[in-house]
């Protein structure tokens, strides 16, 4: 049994289907990324996981507890960072964390120690007596992440946690997320920028129009998706022959020839790529090397067609 189990989850707002039949699991010690454009339903999904939006259909189980009917218990084991800044302007940094620590029922002695430790973790200890409104955007985001950790959650829900951060702060935050995953926590991160997730997530779910279009590890995603990929073909001789055959082949574009190396964009999965190679060799091309050009995943998936995955496929 996974720590977080999402099963056939849907949410409607009036006539709008914000989330449609989404299913996935997340284990302790792993980081699950939710990627997709704005309006894809990521935030609604994370809010349902955070027990602040009631699902229209489906079931969320966290640590074996139903997230709707046992919300009070579930909230004790989750930490949630919303996609908007949620700070009390007229409250000091220390007071902000102290208030939420009280909400979780932490004792006074434990509160002080936990707050100091968290503020050091996010590098805000020196600013503990500053008002929240005086913090920079990045510092405010760090404070919200510290707040989400105040109850030592087993499941961390981060909705666009890197938005608005500069490059250095993003890298620091990513390091914090990796550290959290190594502490046997289940982490769910949503982001509209896939690139933010690739380096830190074990599994990524792609969302579009409220549906999960693909779920898997980075290599699995590439296999699952009929992606547009840049390929490199190195031939022993007769590069012109290879060029002619490729230009005649379907789904090939942006063909470039340099000496004996041909680089082109191909629309098709692994099976189609293998079939293309077979056709080239059958046409008399002597292939020395045939491999995908190394590309960042977010570029690879940029043109991924929004094909919903079935709930069974969605379970990694």
């Amino acid at each position: 049994m996974s720590y977080l189990e999402v099963s056939h989850l849907s949410r409607r707002f009036g006539r709008t289907n914000a989330v449609v039949d989404v299913s996935f699991d997340v284990d302790l010690g792993s980081v699950f990324g939710l990627a997709g454009p704005n309006g894809a339903g990521k935030s609604t999904l994370v809010r349902m996981l955070a027990t602040i939006v009631r699902p229209t259909k489906g079931r969320i189980t966290i640590d074996g507890l139903d997230a709707v009917h046992r919300a009070g218990q579930v909230r004790r084991v989750i930490g949630y960072v919303p996609d908007v800044y949620s700070l009390y302007d007229d409250t000091k940094v220390w007071e902000y964390l102290n208030f939420f620590a009280r909400c979780y029922g932490l004792g006074a002695r434990f509160r002080s120690a936990a707050i100091a430790e968290l503020l050091k973790l996010v590098d805000l200890y020196e600013l503990r007596f500053a008002f929240c409104k005086s913090l920079s955007r990045g510092q405010q985001q760090k404070l919200m992440i510290a707040r989400a950790l105040i109850n030592e959650p087993k499941l961390l829900l981060l909705d666009e946690p890197l938005a608005g951060l500069d490059a250095q702060s993003r890298e620091e935050m990513l390091e914090v997320f990796r550290e959290l995953a190594s502490m046997e926590k289940a982490v769910v991160i949503s982001s509209h920028a896939l690139g933010d997730l690739v380096d830190v997530c074990d599994t990524i779910g792609l969302m579009a129009a409220g549906q999960l279009t693909a779920v898997g590890t980075v290599p699995e995603l590439i296999r699952q998706l009929e992606v547009t990929q840049r390929l490199r073909l190195v031939v022993v001789e007769q590069p012109e022959l290879a060029q002619r055959l490729l230009s005649e082949a379907p789904n090939v574009s942006e063909l470039e020839l340099q000496h004996t190396t041909l680089t082109f964009t191909y629309q098709g999965g692994r099976a189609a790529q293998a079939e293309l190679l077979r056709q080239l060799m059958a046409g008399g091309v002597q292939v020395a090397q045939y491999a995908p050009v190394s590309q960042p995943l977010h570029e690879l998936l940029a043109s991924a067609p929004p094909t919903p995955v079935s709930p069974d496929q969605a379970r990694p």
Partner: protein, 305 residues
Amino acid sequence: MTMNPVLVQEMRVRMRGGTAYLLLTTIILVFGAFSLATFWAITNIVRPVAPVAIQVAGAPAPAQGLPIDRILVSQRGPIFFLVMALWAIVLTAFIVPGTTSGSIARERETRTLPLVMSTPLSPLSVVTGKLLAAGSYVVLVIAAGIPLFTLVVMFGGIPNNQLAAVAAIVLVTAFAFSALGVFVSSIARNGLLASLITYTIVLALTLGSYAVYMAASPLSKAVSMKYALYFSPLAAIVSALTQTNSQLNSIVSQFFREPGTRVAGEWWSIGHYPLWYVTTAGYLIVGVLLVLAASRAINPLRRWI
């Protein structure tokens, strides 16, 4: 046992800086000035216009009752206490919507409410925390005005049960208006709208009900609108203080005539129950219901609204 975190947070923020103290000082100064003006008026204006005629034993009794000036003089204490108690209600009606109506709506505006609701803190704890914080401030203001009430000792004539009744009415009114403010705040889009709605309802309850009663009086001899007074805490105060004081009643009943009559009747009771019993019990019940409704309204997993 730990204190409600919302209460601690609200009190900490509310009392930070000089605004709260400045407001408190201003209210007390205004209350004080009003009290002293009332005290001066009662001691200097309400005087007997003719010497007291001492009745000789065996002589025939005067044909008419005590003249009004004599009644007024004998009722200086109760009149002063009545005015002060009414002023306490007006103060409550003035302060409470301002302190409560923004409480939850402001959380919604700053988007901190979902964050609070994602913690194990129950919606009822959030609402009671907001309510107690606002109520505490109102009680602080009223408590700060208690020394002014001691001026009534100069006149005397206020039994303990009336003191207790007035205290109960003021506290229950503060609670009910606070609950109303928090409830409106829990469903309003923003703090300004919540304040507007709360002030309108409080004004309608406090003065509007009396206005309806007075407006309806000359219109119909058959239909009594005295029930409108049951919504007004001001009428409850008058009811509590005149219930066992016929002389004070004869003075204030000039303002509470039965419809179509020239003489005030037993306007303060419904059946066997004095008006203030009904008003206070009603405010208490409605206040509790509003607190429960507000906690339901902010529950993100509720099935309605």
